[in-house]
């Protein structure tokens, strides 16, 4: 029995047992459903082994939405706990676990896959490519991310949740202060997902730089493709840093090394330093593709080209460099001197300049545009004032001397939610609404969509504006309760009401999907928004090969040119198309990674060694494998094309 004790949860509660039951029932329901409807073969052939960027994109989307609700439930529990003084809904330990998983899930397992979803779905189409450069690697990226996310998510049911914050600062995160395996989950699950992300970065840089349609110069790429390129450059240079940090943290916890320990010369502050060398660029990995999506939406629904294309590009290039020069602003109060803090203050404030350029470009795109208030556009319009507010408080935080007042208060929490929610989450929801018809052949309901935007925005303002005030008054973040005499009570209650309204907004999204699946018209064109870029130039549903004939491009709005200015996109005849083969290897290898991670988390050395050998066996098999893909014949292309045109 002693062996099994390690898998028990250290701090059980009724809610956790209820979740276990719910998770168990869900698993059984999925397995039973797949068996009853005889869908196992379909699942394996069409999804688990797919290397098609569009399907991989959709799997990212499903994961992101699931994680959005997991993280959202965490958020609601936190706000409920803080709604009144001296609340006992959650105890300190559970509160710690919940804010930790909320942060990790939302950043790494919700926002990241949401971005990956858009990049996978849109980038190859926007540049007129058949797929990404390395389709199988792309599948491996997804499955590694997915297994990392699943591994992290079982933590609260098996062995205990991480509870040292999403930043997992040492010495709190070392064995002495975090005794359960929770922090092992943090170190290893994120490691596995992070390797997948790094591969995505390499894959998309290669795709964008080497596989553009004939004629598309760099300065003619659509803005979302540009933003993806820059985000992937940041991924490639930032994620190895996380890899090293997590590996060192793992070694400290499992093998007794002394990187971040208190004794034997270890330096806990070094963790904070390395973590933020990755962590700050990470927020730009999230926000830049979001900016790209807004750029597409502003331009489409203002019915004009994007204002200041070149300055948009250069401001992103500048942001990508500056993002690596600011990390110390996350720990202004850690003890380094005024000289260092001044440098990092200045670089931080400097980032506001290229960001401001972008804001003005969007405003000037609206200027003299024929604005059409669709749901995506409404999100984008809401984004500008709300995000700017978050940006301005960011500049306040950037002043290192003043930061001694703001540091680790709810002011900071308000700031980063204020940039991430209107900046990233709104962009994801706007983009989801925008690209929904391209994926599924029907539109989401506009009326419910607009209600959702307003609900979310009102909820957002109510939830986060009060935190600025309580933060300045001294309410510390990550404290599970406060006494009545602090006077924080009423404003925290407002926050809770706001969070509840936001929850209603997210429920409305689910309802909208349900409603639209049932009632929306299927009789829509392949270009329902009258858009401007190449992803709308192909059929809906998008054929496996994307474009029967590779498009030729002369501007950043090739599709618009073909609609309005007589530009001919598709010249020549059908030719046979080379496509990659499906493969079960990425899925199998990721499962082995899951086992490897799980074994390390619980220090089960023999399975860990076996799994390591399994991973190397997969790599060896891959090395010796001969797989040169297959061809789609001209006949098949003709059949598909005439069927899609007829439909």
């Amino acid at each position: 029995m002693e062996f099994f004790e390690r898998f028990a949860i250290p701090n059980p509660s009724f809610a956790i047992y209820a979740s276990m039951v719910a998770a168990g029932i869900t698993m059984i329901a999925i397995v039973a459903g797949l068996t009853y409807f005889k869908k196992w073969g379909y699942l394996w052939r069409e999804w688990l082994t797919t290397v098609d960027h569009k399907r991989i994109g959709i799997m990212y989307l499903i994961s992101a939405l699931l994680m959005l609700f997991r993280g959202g439930v965490d958020a609601i529990m936190m706000r409920a706990q803080l709604a009144v003084p001296d609340n006992t809904l959650l105890d300190a330990q559970h509160y710690n676990e919940i804010f930790t998983t909320h942060g990790v899930v939302m950043i790494l397992f919700m926002a990241m896959p949401f971005i990956m979803f858009f990049m996978n779905l849109v980038v190859p189409l926007q540049i007129g490519a058949r797929d990404v450069a390395f389709p199988r690697l792309n599948a491996l990226s997804f499955w590694l991310f997915f297994m990392g996310a699943m591994l992290f998510n079982i933590s609260f049911m098996v062995g205990g949740s991480p509870d040292a914050g999403w930043t997992s600062y040492f010495p709190l995160a070392d064995n002495e202060f975090s005794k359960s395996v929770g922090t092992n989950y943090y170190m290893i699950a994120i490691q596995i997902a992070g390797i997948g992300t790094l591969m995505t970065g390499i894959n998309f840089i290669t795709t964008i730089l080497k596989m553009r349609a004939p004629g598309m110069k760099l300065m003619q790429m659509p803005m979302f493709t540009w933003s993806s390129l820059i985000a992937n450059v940041i991924i490639v240079f930032a994620f190895p840093v996380l890899t090293v940090a997590l590996a060192m943290g793992t070694m400290d916890r499992l093998f007794g090394t002394n990187f971040f320990t208190i004794d034997n010369g270890g330096m806990s502050m070094l963790w904070a330093n390395i973590f933020w060398v990755w962590g700050h660029p990470e927020v730009y990995i999230l926000i830049l593709p979001a900016f790209g999506i807004y750029s597409e939406i502003f331009s489409t629904f203002s019915r004009r080209n994007l204002y200041g294309y070149k300055s948009m590009v250069w401001s992103m290039v500048l942001i990508s460099l500056l993002s690596f020069l600011v990390w110390a602003h996350h720990f202004f109060t850690m003890g380094q001197g005024a000289f260092t803090n001044s440098i990092f203050s200045i670089t931080t404030m400097a980032i506001a300049v290229p960001t401001g350029v972008k804001i003005f470009n969007w405003l000037l795109t609206l200027w003299k545009g024929k604005i059409e208030f669709t749901t995506p556009m409404l999100y984008a319009i809401m984004f500008i004032p709300l995000f700017t507010l978050g940006g301005v408080t960011g500049v306040m935080l950037a002043m290192s001397a003043a930061d001694y007042q703001y540091h680790n208060t709810m002011f900071l929490v308000a700031h980063f939610h204020n940039v991430i929610i209107p900046g990233v989450v709104y962009a994801m929801l706007a983009g989801l609404t925008y690209y929904w018809p391209k994926m599924f052949g029907f539109m989401l309901n506009e009326k419910i969509g607009k209600w959702t935007v307003w609900t979310l925005s009102i909820g957002f303002v109510l939830a986060f504006m009060p935190m600025y005030i309580t933060g300045l008054d001294g309410q510390a973040r990550r404290l599970y309760t406060y006494s009545e005499s602090t006077g924080f009570g009423p404003l925290n209650m407002v926050s809770f009401v706001g969070a509840a309204i936001m929850a209603v907004g997210f429920v409305l999204i689910v309802y909208n999907i349900y409603y639209s699946v049932r009632y929306a018209s299927r009789d829509i064109s392949a270009d329902p928004w009258d858009a401007r870029t190449l992803e709308w130039a192909t059929h809906t549903p998008i054929p496996e090969y994307n474009f029967a004939i590779t498009p030729e491009v002369k501007s950043s709005e090739a599709f618009w040119d073909s609609k309005k200015n007589g530009h001919v996109l598709f010249k020549g005849n059908y030719e046979k198309i080379h496509m990659p083969n499906n493969s079960g290897m990425p899925f199998v290898m990721s499962i082995i990674f899951f086992i490897w991670g799980f074994s390390l988390i619980f220090s089960l050395w023999i399975p860990a060694i076996v799994a390591t050998l399994g991973i190397f066996a997969c790599l060896t098999l891959r090395s010796f494998e001969k797989d040169h893909g297959h061809y789609i014949s001209v006949k098949e292309i003709e059949d598909t094309e005439s069927e899609l045109r007829g439909a």
């Binding site: 730089l209 450059v233 330093n273 390395i274 020069l325 110390a328 003890g335 440098i343």
Partner: protein, 94 residues
């Protein structure tokens, strides 16, 4: 046989041996920290550049621009990370 040993690569190898010998000088001769570090920095970066250009053929294709941008970008950020870390964690830590 001689076509298997191109002049450029043989010279590259000889040069890298010379650079190694020079770097070893900091061990065998007594010199100040500043001089020693200068010698090491110069020899190390020359060696790295040598590998990149002579052996790795970094500039042989149309992707030359992207490849060099990638390497320089990595190098700049690497240096910023190393020296920024030292600044914040050691040199300016009270």
């Amino acid at each position: 046989m001689s076509e298997l040993f191109p002049f450029k690569q043989v010279m590259g190898f000889v040069f890298s041996m010379v650079l190694t010998a020079v770097a070893l000088g900091v061990y065998f001769f007594d010199m100040s920290f500043a001089v020693g570090m200068t010698v090491l920095l110069v020899t190390a970066f020359l060696q790295a550049g040598l590998q990149l250009v002579v052996f790795m053929h970094a500039g042989e294709t149309e992707d030359k621009g992207a490849i060099y941008t990638n390497v320089y970008y990595g190098l700049i950020i690497a240096l910023v990370t190393v020296f920024g870390t030292l600044l914040a964690m050691v040199w300016d830590m009270g």
